[in-house]
Symmetry: C2
Subunit: 214 residues, 2 copies
Amino acid sequence: MEIKVVKNILKANDDTAANIRDILNKRKVCLLNIMASPGAGKTTFILKLAECLKGRVRLGVIEGDVASSVDSKKVAAAGIPVVQINTEGGCHLEARQIRNVLRDLPLEEIDLLIIENVGNLICTATYDLGEHLRIVLSSVPEGDDKPYKYPGIFNLVDAVVVTKTDLKPYMDFSQEEYDKAIRTINRKVRIIPVSAKTGEGMTELCDWFIENMK
Amino acid sequence: MEIKVVKNILKANDDTAANIRDILNKRKVCLLNIMASPGAGKTTFILKLAECLKGRVRLGVIEGDVASSVDSKKVAAAGIPVVQINTEGGCHLEARQIRNVLRDLPLEEIDLLIIENVGNLICTATYDLGEHLRIVLSSVPEGDDKPYKYPGIFNLVDAVVVTKTDLKPYMDFSQEEYDKAIRTINRKVRIIPVSAKTGEGMTELCDWFIENMK
């Protein structure tokens, strides 16, 4: 019984995700799903990405959080169109929630629509949101062993962005060990270390987006 | 249909949790459930706690992870009895998993049995594991706004341990703002800032355990 219900939910989610992709393909909007642990730096990352893509790519943002509108306020303050979804206890976003808010965004003025998913390295990996690109943010303070512990999400994504690299001098974090861990799970995924503070990696990252946006 | 299934699962979980509490009460073992984001420092915290409780409280550990036995190897190397549960994609531990491994631990030699739950600030809050004490670890690099975003878990716990305080000089983290955020959700919970690196707060923390263990 339990398994059947779960399967039905996932099937319905996949159908809605396919519908979202159709809608956005017609409007030439690329949808990006950003996943990460709580506090990995998703919102700061979005704000930095907006800076370096300015004049080239027009952004829109869907903020997913269990509660609060802390993040959407920051994004709105940067002049980026944004809607907030509060899951009220839900541990991930689902496609129907994304479709519901598409009408609240000026899609004709957006090239790259970014979903900041709920802070969760596990449940978010199960739900297709209709995205064209998926990335996971993994921060230096979380440690270089994270890929071993959460293989599902690291296997799923188009790029792994290692954030907060400016903290490396103060942590036991080896980029070499981290890359080795990723390669046991995903041989080909692009790994991009960045720091919002020093700007490290941001140019490489923006180039990656320009190249991979459909 | 969906809701009914979820309710049945939670009821079965609560019954098993009550049974675990009975078993452990008879053996005078206190069960502690540690919850946190991925990379908040749960394993390091357990190893530091073991050091400062040495000779006073005998520990045992149940390690919960989606995959790998990285953490249980570290705990075993410190001479602490440990069992590993791999959830293989599951986003939290459930009471039946805890009961299943009790037989693999030398309960007669353990005063404080510690569960290191899966790294997840949302789903772990829903499942009673038969614990007597619940704490959440929240690391400085995750930011001082986390309580607003994950209110459920911060409302549930007996203590909030703020880890990695040695990183405060390098981060935009205000302990005052963090405490304010916690107080909007949980007026009474004890907040204990600690650093495994400098030892800050470890004595206060150990005293809290001695005082609150049943």
